[in-house]
């Protein structure tokens, strides 16, 4: 390199190093902000949960609101959950017939369908459907109440909004998810059997008898009742997102979206832990 070239390179070297340092500093700052934001979010969620639990265990109890929310979460989600369960039953039936037929294990069809629906697909599909319908509904409703000062009005009327709004909704989700899961399972088993019976006649009685042969309560109850944890996650995340909203209509939309996205994400992550937990505790 000529002297002139070396001089030019030497001149721009500090600038390049400066640019690298700036970029590195920006990346470190972004990472630090992300991590501190995550800690802040989980910290606020913990504080929110503590306030809800404290409000929920002290009288007066909001029975009327709880019954209303049981209806909102349970009865009004039932058609959607039943439809989703039915669709899953048909899909599993079609897939299982094809796969089992390839390995000459057609006799395993009833048990495969029963175990697939009740242990795996029924709970997670119910959780995701309720997360979409109820999570978005709670998030948007509470966010709308927050930005129009209705939650402040409740508090100003000497009524604890954590008890009236959050505790009742979370409890309703916890209580209703296992029941909705049972409904989804029942619909899935029926439509799964029906899809099979159209091709190869099989009585429903025989299908159930064969599917549940040798089954124990511990094989079916934990996967069904783990959905109470899904309900807790859906209710908690949706109430938290709704009651901390800021910023008008945009904030309401953001709360509804975040409620569904975060609840669905945490629900799937929780499933990983719960499946392992159930396998260890109920071998």
């Amino acid at each position: 390199m000529s002297d002139r070239g070396q001089t030019a390179a030497a001149a721009i070297r500090p600038q390049v190093q400066g640019l690298r340092a700036t970029h590195l500093s920006a990346i470190v700052n972004s990472a630090t902000n992300l991590i501190s934001g995550l800690f802040e979010w989980f910290g606020n969620l913990g504080i929110f949960l503590w306030q809800v639990v404290r409000a929920a265990v002290t009288p007066p109890f909001e029975w009327r609101e709880l019954i209303k929310q049981l209806d909102e979460v349970g009865s009004k989600s039932l058609p959607l959950v039943a439809l989703a369960g039915s669709a899953i039953g048909i899909v599993i039936s079609l897939e299982a017939r094809y796969s089992l037929g390839r390995f000459g294990a057609k006799s395993m069809f009833p048990a495969t369908l029963v175990y697939s629906v009740i242990q795996v697909m029924g709970p997670i599909i119910t959780g995701l459907v309720v997360s979409g319908r109820v999570g978005a509904g709670i998030g948007a409703e509470l966010a709308s109440m927050k930005v129009t000062e209705q939650i402040d009005a409740i508090e100003a009327s000497a009524i604890n909004p954590y008890r009236l709004l959050a505790a009742t909704r979370i409890l309703a989700c916890i209580l209703m998810l296992p029941l909705l899961t049972l409904a989804a399972d029942a619909c899935g088993l029926f439509t799964g059997w029906f899809a099979q019976a159209i091709v190869e006649p099989l009585s429903f009685h025989k299908f159930i008898e064969s599917g549940f042969r040798g089954a124990t309560f511990s094989a079916f109850l934990p996967p069904t009742f783990k959905t109470a944890v899904y309900g807790f996650i859906i209710g908690l995340i949706a109430c938290f997102q709704g009651m901390r909203t800021r910023g008008g209509a945009e904030g309401v939309g953001r709360a509804a979206t975040n409620s569904v996205v975060l609840a669905s994400l945490f629900l799937i992550l929780a499933d990983v832990v719960l499946v392992k937990f159930i396998l260890v505790v109920f071998p």
């Binding site: 129009t148 209705q150 009005a153 100003a156």
Partner: protein, 262 residues
């Protein structure tokens, strides 16, 4: 800090003031982030007295009301309701204090999923559980009749005008027979006729119930009509306090400018 001109309390033209402070705010500071909203506010209101808090937008008038009812906490200073410092109260005791306070929000904040009657019944259902259904219904009708809304019991808040919403909000605020009434911009967004109707209603309620009231407003005419005493806030502090006539005589530049523009 701006000079505070404390002027002797005007004897209420509209109510009987017994001189015992029900609300005492002492050297209250409140900031949101780096923005200092209240900067050492001191004032008091007695039973039967109405204090109007005036000031430009963003001077912390509504924040002051939120602090008094405990929706926000002051950074420093004390707020006493009936002698109790509310910043130090446990939740259950604060709830008892709130039952004695009626609060009308700036946009009424009616529960949009409930009818007019259900909105007014809401605090009663939670705090007067001993009331029978017929007693509750009678009480709701009586409260709505007081604010001239007894013909709209089953309407939804979205089906009534802003002025009517404020009337319903006022009926809800009065449901638990409060000793203190806090009104946040009761006439904002209303036409002059509706504003005067709301003023007349507040005056009538004050005469009948002898509550300690704080009215936050931009409406100088309304403040002059309903309040015994006015306090003017600027940059988070009370710059002048007293009767309307005394405000008019103030030589503080901001006060003169505010009165001139109002």
């Amino acid at each position: 800090m701006a000079t505070i001109q404390t002027i002797s309390m005007a004897q209420g033209a509209q109510g009987v003031c017994d001189g015992t402070p029900v609300i005492t705010v002492e050297d209250v500071h409140k900031s949101f982030g780096a923005h200092e909203v209240l900067n050492g506010v001191t004032l008091s209101v007695s039973r039967g007295e109405t204090l109007a808090v005036l000031g430009r937008s963003g001077t912390g008038k509504s924040v002051l009301l939120r602090l008094i009812i405990g929706l926000d906490k002051p950074d420093s200073g004390s707020i006493r309701i009936g002698g109790e410092d509310i910043a130090k109260l446990p939740i259950h005791r604060m709830a008892e204090i709130r039952k004695k306070i009626g609060f009308l929000f700036q946009h009424a904040a009616l529960y949009d999923s409930l009818t007019v009657a259900e909105n007014v019944a809401f605090p009663l259902q939670h705090h007067r559980r001993e009331m029978s259904k017929s007693e509750l219904s009678d009480r709701v009708k009586q409260l709505l009749a007081e604010v001239g809304m007894d013909n709209d019991l089953n309407k939804m808040p979205s089906d009534i005008s802003g002025g009517m919403q404020k009337r319903v909000g006022l009926a809800r605020a009065l449901a638990l027979e409060p000793e203190i009434l806090l009104l946040d911009e009761p006439t904002s967004g209303l036409d002059p006729i509706s504003s005067r109707e709301i003023d007349d209603l507040i005056l009538k309620l004050q005469r009948e119930r002898k509550m300690a009231s704080i009215v936050v407003t931009h409406d100088l005419l309304s403040a002059k009509t309903i309040a015994n005493r006015l306090a003017l806030l600027d940059q988070g502090s009370v710059v002048v306090e007293g009767s309307f006539e005394r405000l008019q005589k103030s030589d503080i530049g901001f006060v003169r400018e505010f009165l001139k523009q109002s």
